[in-house]
């Protein structure tokens, strides 16, 4: 039985202003409780319970707070936010305003990746509509442009970038909700999270919570690209099986799938039946499909080169580790190192996961280990 339940939740129809109307009819704490009850988890990949994050932010005694929409969508294979920002912008903006209402923030920013500068004219005019609306509290939104740095999708790197610094993640704790933009409490959520919030406010917690699985409520946007007949953005209930997705988008002779982007895992044929949800295959949303003609070593090198360039460069395990993983792979390929050297690289992966300063460094081992485990013959024993 297909697990595909293509449900138009986030991509569904929406009456502009309906989310706001619903929110303002409730008290801020009630809005937060609603989100907690819905089970919504952050849609940027990390999956922190949204309602809980909002509660932490609301409880901060510091009066000056900021809401930031993380539109630095940079995970390779991800383009869902591009669609939301161009075709569903009202829900995103209303979600931000609702966040401001619930947590006590008066200012909202959209941190927009530099590559999406083409959206600016329309985006700014849409924002202007909301900024000129009369709201029951003061809240103004503006756009801050990124300038080409994948790591700025990490919430603290984003905040540092907004503070006028290099996008270098900070040590945690303290967390952004305690001390972030201009050292004040900052709520950072993904574009899709804000869009989903608007719908949940309109339709209620149960409507959302009945979808998906126990630990992964609701639906998720998937960006599907690679060797498929119908690439694009799709919305499925969480818990959907990868094999069903592959069939749905017209993937043929699939060799492997990169699930969750470059920071996710590589899934080979024997695992295609697994579901995508928190705790299962990573539900970041980026799905890159490779068919039988693709060279997995080339794919892995492409991935490692990406991380070696995009690491912020502060901490030893990520800066040096990404470099050594790529270099090690190349040396094994050229025969300069024996295959036994792979063992050292596995140890390096363990240490990177255990000691890198931020999620980027902790994730680099995922594609490395999963691709090589799946294709040992092709990559190591050539």
């Amino acid at each position: 039985m297909s697990t595909i339940k293509e449900k138009k939740v986030v991509l569904g129809s929406y009456t502009a202003g309906s989310g706001l109307k619903a929110a303002f009819a409730m008290k801020p704490q009630e809005v937060i409780q609603l989100l907690i009850d819905s089970g919504l988890r952050g849609r940027g990949g990390a999956g922190f319970p949204t309602g809980l994050k909002w509660r932490f932010a609301a409880n901060q005694k510091e009066p000056v707070k900021t809401v930031i929409c993380n539109a630095d969508e940079g995970e390779p294979g991800t383009f869902k936010d591009r669609v939301l920002l161009t075709e569903h912008i009202e829900k995103v903006l209303e979600g931000m305003i609702i966040a401001g209402y619930a947590t006590g923030a008066a200012e909202g920013f959209i941190y927009l990746r530099g590559e999406y500068a083409f959206m600016l004219p329309v985006l700014e005019s849409e924002i202007e509509k909301f900024n000129s609306k009369k709201l029951p509290f003061s809240f103004k939104i503006s756009v801050r442009m990124g300038a080409g740095a994948y790591v700025c999708g990490e919430e603290f790197a984003l905040i540092e970038s907004m503070n006028g610094n290099r996008g270098e993640p900070r040590n945690k704790p303290p967390f952004p909700v305690q001390k972030g933009y201009l050292e004040k409490p900052t709520l950072v959520n993904n574009v899709e999270t804000f869009a989903t919030v608007s719908h949940i406010l309109v339709n209620g917690a149960d409507w959302f919570a009945q979808l998906g699985t126990d630990k992964s409520k609701g639906t998720k946007l998937f960006s599907i690209s690679g060797d498929v007949q119908r690439p694009g953005v799709y919305e499925f209930e969480l818990g959907v099986r990868l094999s069903d997705i592959l069939e749905f988008v017209g993937a043929e002779n699939t060799k492997s799938v990169q699930v969750g982007g470059f920071s996710g895992v590589n899934v080979a044929k024997d695992q295609f039946d697994r579901p995508i949800a928190f705790g299962e295959l990573p539900p970041g949303g980026s799905i890159i499909v490779f068919n039988k003609d693709r060279n997995m070593l080339k794919v892995l090198k492409n991935i490692l080169e990406f991380f070696e360039e995009e690491s912020c460069g502060q901490c030893t395990p990520c800066r040096e580790g990404s470099y050594q993983l790529l270099k090690g792979l190349e040396m094994i390929e050229k025969g300069e190192k024996s295959v036994r050297y792979y063992k050292e690289l596995v140890t390096l992966c363990e240490v990177m996961k255990d000691s890198a300063k931020c999620g980027l460094g902790q994730s680099v081992p995922n594609p490395f280990l999963s691709i090589i485990e799946n294709f040992k013959d092709e990559i190591l024993y050539r």
Partner: protein, 160 residues
């Protein structure tokens, strides 16, 4: 080192006035200068330093962090071709060769007429419509060798 022109000085003063003089406005100011002059020169660094009271090294350190902020004159149009795997699988190599042949340069170089610079970039969020490239701030997707040649001609005619 300090060849601040009147145009540069007034531009930066205006940009800082628009965004604000606090440190948090550094990236917007850098982007403005980069968009207007094509890059952030040594003189621009000095003027930004003077107006925003941030040390030159820190400004330069921030500028070099971001791939799209140029700290040297790369030419009028910087072409950034996505080299991440999805675009790679959709025929980026053909686009690569077309560009190199058409402009007579290799990636990492600027054409002798100072118009075009070829660079690589990472995933631009156009994975369903690859290959893709940026020319300064403009994004072009679904590239073919023919469409790329058209784009280059349009820029040569300064129509874009």
């Amino acid at each position: 080192m300090d060849c601040r022109t009147g145009a540069l000085v007034s531009f930066i003063e205006r940009s800082v006035k628009d965004h604000g003089a606090g440190r948090e406005n550094l990236l917007p100011v850098l982007r403005d200068v980069n968009d207007e002059f094509g890059y952030v020169s040594g003189s621009a660094l000095i003027e930004i330093s003077r107006v925003m009271d941030i040390s030159i090294g820190e400004i330069h350190g921030v500028a070099t962090f971001y791939s799209f902020i140029n700290v040297e004159n790369k030419g009028s149009y910087v072409i950034r071709l996505c080299k991440t795997i999805s675009c790679d699988m959709k025929g980026k190599e053909k686009i690569e060769k077309t560009l190199e042949r058409e402009l007579g340069i290799k990636f990492g170089e600027t054409s002798s007429d100072g118009l075009f610079r070829l660079e690589y970039s990472n995933c631009m969020g156009m994975c369903d419509k690859g290959p893709a490239m940026l020319v300064n701030n403009k994004l072009f997707d679904s590239l073919t060798p023919e469409s790329v040649l058209d784009i280059v001609s349009e820029y040569r005619r300064k129509r874009l």
